[in-house]
């Protein structure tokens, strides 16, 4: 049967599972069949799911480290410049470059920089805020934040076919497969 390759009329198919293990089995089955534009939606992080979907490496730790370094270097430079160069005053006979006294502020600003980078980096890498997404059009999807586990295959996937993909998802254990309108 020739596949329709003009613009598909759905964003994709959403399969509902009752247990995280069933979802994991579904993901593995779907990837084995060669689908790539696959995402899973769960009410809590499921062990092994991201790996099963092929997600290897996140850049969040690198972003966090960079944020911490920027924070620390800024903190130390600020103190150095203000206390040694721009406004040098003798406090208790300490040398102008009193580096032990500069440690607390440097430390705190490193932590602040790292924390801000971790949160903002995580949100940015996740593409959040993203208040609109086609999956929200499926009424059952509200259960993704309660007790159901979803698997979504996008119609943009090369192997997507409304009937065949639906049959595959049902054979992998999903009892409810919905169309996801745009």
């Amino acid at each position: 049967m020739a596949k329709q390759r003009n613009k598909p009329n759905v964003f994709g198919l959403l399969a509902e599972f009752e247990k995280p293990q069933d979802l994991l089995a579904g993901v593995r089955g779907v990837l084995q069949e060669g689908y790539r534009r696959v995402d899973a939606y769960t009410p809590f992080p499921v062990d092994g799911l991201a790996e099963a979907l092929g997600f290897r490496h996140t850049r969040v730790p690198l972003v966090t480290l960079l944020g911490g370094l920027v924070g620390g270097v800024s903190g130390y430079s600020l103190q150095y410049w203000t206390s040694v160069v721009d406004y040098p005053i003798n406090v208790g006979g300490r040398p102008l470059h009193s580096w032990p006294a500069f440690i607390p502020v440097t430390f705190e600003l490193s932590i602040l920089g790292a924390a801000l980078a971790a949160v903002l980096g995580m949100l940015a890498l996740n593409g959040l805020p993203m208040p609109y997404h086609p999956v929200f059009h499926v009424p059952r999807f509200a259960l993704a934040s309660r007790d159901r586990f979803f698997l979504c295959i996008e119609s943009a996937d090369a192997r997507f076919d409304e009937k065949q993909t639906r049959d595959l998802l049902e054979s992998l254990g999903s009892r409810r497969v919905s169309n996801v309108p745009y």
Binding site: P43, V60, G75, L116
Partner: protein, 461 residues
């Protein structure tokens, strides 16, 4: 959060009370916790409690208003005791905040499952405690409207903050602590805000929670980055919490006053902070679980574990008191010796003995399992310890200041009604913020409870 192996072997696990009551499912934990927020109409009990605390907030604003108009002289501060209730309250509130971060961050890194049902409101407690704490360094300035001079900004006077001072370190430490706690708390809330968005019955609820949830949809890729960020935040918050109260202790330890200038202050303050923080968590957890029927989530395991931590930190704090006194004698320094002696038998002696009773003696009851598992006694003990920790800060600040090196400079300190008004007003602010929190946000972390259900279910298989 970390779906790792449980730390207790199965045989011991069966003898301990459960970390969550058996029979819960993902749906029941979600419904139970979110229904407290989404319940309509607002319960009369909540309104009554919020009204009472709001009255105290009004008292606080009145006291602050009069302070700004008339000046710091309305308080009891004078020479020689130039730091009075304001600093005592500041250190007390910051200390209380530390338990929230410890539960959220440190217990996460230590893979302790029992943190799950208490970390959300403990973290909220931290935020509100730090907010209350932050008021005091600003208010105790002679001209609080110039508080921004503490920040490094280019100014026409051509001056910069004196970075070698612990008071400036405080600005950065407390500011960082508040910001990181807020970030940690908000990140933890994101998936739960999505739950509330999906379950809210009103349009306003859906819109507001929807905006706050930022479109969270539970994608596996998002969860992966989320968990990484959450773990990193926990790893960052752990040294932060230790450093913040260390920097606060430096306010005293860097100074040369006898009784203050002691290297034991940083660890002793941090232990004391954890101590008072857990006492406050217990003070909150016990009524909350009773009123909202959360005994299935906050079980005897949680209460007992918190009691044990309180006992352990009471021993550390007791050791701190002992060492202070011993070193005062061992040092041979006449000023140190006098300060230690004056604390015990001087005019503020009753405060010192009340402190020993509250902080060192009364928690020793917790060695008995019967006491640890008695909810009313735990509640009373937690309140006693909160008072005791306030007294500790009072004794540290006032006794070292009122009689230091030069006898001709000695004096007495007595708080005025405005000192008490600001203290009780700040307690009212704390309670009011907590009431708002439990009304509008899930007080237990819903997605982490679902994870806990998933973990405890697989263990039972």
């Amino acid at each position: 959060m970390i779906a790792g192996e449980p730390v207790t072997p199965k045989s011991a696990e069966r003898r301990l009370p459960p970390v969550i009551a058996p029979g819960h499912t993902f749906a029941t934990v979600t419904d139970k916790i979110s229904s407290i927020v989404l319940a309509r109409p607002t319960s009369k009990g909540w309104l009554a409690g919020f009204l009472l605390s709001f009255l105290l907030v009004m008292l606080l604003f009145y006291a602050i208003g009069y302070l700004l108009v008339a000046g710091v002289g309305i308080w009891g501060v004078s020479i020689p005791v130039a730091w009075g209730f304001a600093i005592v309250n500041f250190v007390w509130w910051i200390g209380i905040g530390h338990a929230g971060t410890l539960i959220s961050a440190i217990l996460l890194l230590l893979n302790q499952q029992w943190r799950t049902s208490i970390n959300r409101f403990a973290e909220a407690m931290t935020l509100f405690a730090v907010a209350c704490a932050g008021l005091f360094p600003l208010l105790h300035l002679g001209r609080p409207w110039f508080f921004y001079w503490l920040l490094p900004y280019p100014n026409p006077q051509g001056i910069w903050p004196q970075f070698r001072s612990p008071l400036v370190w405080d600005v950065f430490a407390v500011g960082t602590y508040f910001t990181v706690s807020l970030l940690f708390w908000f990140v933890g809330l994101l998936p739960d805000l999505a739950t509330l968005r999906d379950r809210s019955q009103t349009r306003a609820g859906r819109v507001i929670y929807g905006i706050l949830a930022m479109g969270w949809r539970g994608s596996a890729f998002h969860w992966h980055r989320y968990q990484t960020a959450y773990l990193l935040l926990a790893g960052l918050a752990t040294p932060l919490v230790v450093s913040v109260h260390t920097v606060v202790s430096f306010d005293f330890a860097i100074g040369i006053l006898p009784g203050w200038h002691s290297t034991i202050f940083p660890p002793y303050f941090v232990a004391g902070a954890i101590y008072s923080g857990f006492a406050m968590v217990l003070t909150l957890a016990i009524p909350l679980r009773a009123v909202y029927g959360l005994q299935g989530f906050i079980t005897m395991r949680h209460l007992e574990n918190m009691a044990k931590i309180m006992l352990a930190t009471s021993l550390i704090v007791g050791y701190g008191y002992l060492m202070e006194t011993f070193m005062a004698w061992y040092s041979g320094n006449p000023f140190e010796k006098f300060t230690a002696w004056n604390r015990v038998v001087g005019p503020y002696g009753p405060a010192y003995w009340a402190l020993i009773l509250c902080n060192v003696l009364s928690p020793q009851l917790l060695w008995l399992k019967r006491i640890r598992t008695s909810v009313p006694i735990l509640f009373v003990l937690a309140l006693v310890i909160n008072v005791g920790m306030w007294l500790e800060r009072f004794v540290i600040v006032i006794t070292s200041l009122h009689r230091d090196f030069l006898p001709s400079s000695w004096g007495m300190y007595s708080p005025t009604r405005w000192d008490w008004a600001v203290l009780f007003g700040s307690i009212g602010l704390f309670v009011a913020l907590l009431f708002l929190f439990i009304r509008f946000l899930p007080m237990i972390s819903i997605f982490e409870m679902r994870e806990l259900v998933s973990q405890t279910q697989t263990e039972g298989d």
